[in-house]
């Protein structure tokens, strides 16, 4: 925590220095990235960082990239964004849900600076949002989890009860239950995106409760490290995490941000950038499914790949009726498909999940 303050202080100094002569560096666009965790977390933040580097490699000397890692969500984020904007950034990617309000606030103060916020839903003339349909990947993970669990108990480590995470839990459970009607899901909320010790403890607690397949919606590889040590199966999250293959990692959801970053930076260079609302999935290549490994039988593997293809082509939607909400009230009728509006604001569990969502 203190290190962040220190780094932020250094950035302030740099920001002030650069603010004196922003006009001098107008020749090439300056692209900023803000991450919630360290760039070597092995997951979410590292993958954004790598995508940023891929974007930089694509443009070479034509762009300048500035990055700030381990920025806490909240007031600190606002300060960091302000400094980046003062430092002459033309486009700033804010890569965590909790940066939503800070991004909107800072964007108001700097109408000429463009912002792109990941996984949020608030836009402005100079704020676009982008996210991936992770729930499509979760459907495949849930399918595999339902097949592979022997105790009929799967676990889900949630960070914060936001729609993105709730969609993931619902999608995983629906598809686990489809292949295994007896399956139960245990959810643990740990109120952080990145805290390896907490993620490890949560994994251990799930194992102690009889869970044998763990899905994590946090940023580090700690859950897989614990599964490797103690037994059980899991998935790569945000990054392939192939270093834990073939077991315990049996597949993964891979975020593919680089093409989007390249496209949006190109738009800034061309002067055609406009606020957008991008929400792409497997079909558009924003969500990748890592190789299925380990003890997964070949027929299950083939079925999972077929599901992936169907989702990609649009033939299958992971939220297809009949589906009821947790309290038993009908949500989607037979064959009906969830609309994006409901999905974007999802704040309920589907029928069959026990426990309640913290509010």
């Amino acid at each position: 925590m203190k290190r962040r303050t220190l780094l932020a202080g250094v950035t302030t100094a740099l920001g002030l220095g650069l603010a004196v002569g922003p006009a001098l560096a107008q020749d090439k666009p300056k692209i900023g990235f803000v991450y919630v965790g360290p760039v070597n977390d092995g997951g979410w933040s590292q993958h954004h960082h790598e995508a940023a580097m891929a974007m930089k490699a694509h443009f070479g000397d034509a762009v300048e990239v500035v990055e700030q890692a381990s920025v806490p969500e909240g007031a600190d984020a606002e300060r960091v964004l302000t400094q980046m904007a003062l430092g002459g950034a033309d486009l700033i990617f804010t890569t965590s849900f909790g940066y939503m309000e800070p991004t909107i606030d800072v964007a108001k103060k700097f109408p000429k600076v463009k912002f792109e916020h990941a996984t949020g839903y608030k836009t402005a003339p100079n704020v676009g949002v982008y996210s991936a349909r992770f729930y499509e990947g979760r459907a495949i993970e849930g399918f595999l989890a339902g097949h592979m669990t022997k105790s009929n108990k799967i676990g889900y480590i949630g960070s914060f009860p936001i729609p993105e995470v709730i969609r993931g839990i619902n999608s995983s459970f629906i598809h686990a239950q489809k292949v295994n009607p007896d399956v139960e899901i245990s959810v643990i909320w740990i109120s952080t995106w990145f805290d390896p010790a907490k993620e490890a403890d949560a994994t251990q607690a799930l194992l102690d409760q009889g869970v044998d397949v763990v899905l994590a919606h946090t940023d580090s590889t700690a859950p897989l490290a614990v599964l490797k040590e103690k037994g059980g199966l899991g998935f790569g999250q945000a990054a392939d995490m192939y270093e834990y293959a073939p077991e315990p990692r049996i597949s993964s959801i891979i975020d593919e941000w680089a093409p989007y970053y390249i496209k949006r930076v190109q738009a800034v260079i061309d002067g055609t950038w406009e606020s957008d609302n991008t929400w792409d999935g497997i079909g558009a290549g924003m969500v990748g499914i890592g190789e299925i490994t380990g003890p997964v039988p070949d027929d299950v593997k083939a079925e999972a790949m077929k599901m992936k293809d169907d989702i990609a082509s649009g033939a299958y939607h992971p939220f297809t009726g009949p589906l009821n909400k947790q309290d038993g009230s009908p949500w989607l009728a037979e064959g009906e498909v969830a609309d994006d509006g409901t999905l974007a604001g999802m704040n309920f569990y589907v029928q069959g999940i026990t426990g309640s969502i913290p509010n």
Binding site: N40, V187, V211, S220
Partner: protein
């Protein structure tokens, strides 16, 4: 509520693992504070130990050497603190805080190439016949060696402080350094030794995180454990066995709340998540309310000593 899925032996086993990093750091800091020095750099020393231990273990393939390396790395870092506060007479609070900042940055630097690597497995206790005793064996006798080392450290520190001349001198230095100096004891030397011991313990605690509990290296992975260790020293009113109780209570509630969530017990998650902290604060308040509680702080704690004065 359904408690049938709770297995007490597994809970106790998880609790001991969750509590060990803070226990190790706390017992070290307890000795430092009993010598009258307040070192707020525990977090920085822990994370330095976490990466030093990880790097040594990965490169040598031996977890045992990893722990030795962790203790050595943090010890060296703590000597920096000793140099600042004991020889240069710098302010202890400021020096401790900067030690934390420095440790976090240094560990991040050393750890750059260690992300995503797997450490060798730590040696686990497995006594044929005994480790398999139902309940007792699973709960207490199947841990890695560091769990027992931490318990032995608590017992050792307790015995040292209570029964030995060295412990008496250490306490004298912490209670009244001028008097100890007048009696001819080398206040500065004793304090430097205490600081080094605290550093080594914090390093072991950090390495326990990166080698056993998580087990991997990631930036900032201690995530505040050092501050919890500092709180536990106060919680324990500077007594070794109470530090053990404090650490296990904190670890126990942490583990229990996660298990409650996993079992779907109908208690609001927010209450569960904050319970370890709330109970720590409550106990602190209760202890402080008693005359022997916070008043039990070593009288010279945090005060500078200069022999020439």
């Amino acid at each position: 509520m359904d408690f049938s899925s709770f297995n007490a032996a597994l809970l106790i086993a998880s609790l001991m693992v969750a509590a060990t990093p803070v226990l190790l750091a706390a017992i070290g800091e307890l000795v430092v504070e009993r010598a009258g020095v307040l070192n707020l750099g525990v977090e920085g020393m822990m994370i330095t130990g976490a990466i030093c231990g990880f790097a040594v273990a990965v490169n040598t393939g031996s977890p045992m050497l990893g722990f030795v390396g962790a203790a050595a790395g943090s010890l060296v870092l703590s000597l920096l603190f000793a140099l600042l506060t004991q020889l240069a007479l710098a302010n202890q609070v400021a020096s401790g805080l900067s030690l934390t900042l420095f440790g976090l940055g240094l560990s991040s630097l050393i750890g750059q190439s260690y992300g995503g690597q797997k450490p060798p497995r730590a040696y686990r206790l497995d006594i044929p016949g005994i480790s398999d005793i139902p309940f007792f064996g699973r709960a207490f006798l199947q841990h890695d060696m560091m769990v027992y080392v931490s318990l032995a450290l608590v017992a050792g520190v307790w015995a040292l402080l209570k029964y030995t001349r060295a412990g008496l001198i250490l306490r004298a230095v912490g209670e009244n350094h001028d008097a100890a100096h007048a009696l001819g004891y080398k206040v500065i030397t004793i304090r430097i030794l205490a600081i080094a011991f605290g550093g080594a313990c914090a390093g072991l605690g950090g390495a326990y995180l990166s080698l056993v509990r998580v087990p991997q290296w990631t930036d900032g992975m201690t995530a505040g454990a050092g501050w919890i260790a500092l709180a536990i020293v106060v919680f324990a009113s500077w007594k070794p066995w109470r530090a053990l109780i404090g650490a296990y209570l904190f670890g126990g509630i942490t583990v229990l709340q996660l298990n409650f969530q996993a079992a779907g017990v109908a208690v609001p998650v927010q209450l569960l998540s904050m319970s370890p902290y709330v109970i720590t604060i409550l106990v602190l308040v209760v202890i402080s309310a008693r005359s022997s509680g916070a008043g039990a702080a070593p009288a010279s704690l945090g005060r500078l000593f200069h022999a020439g004065r």
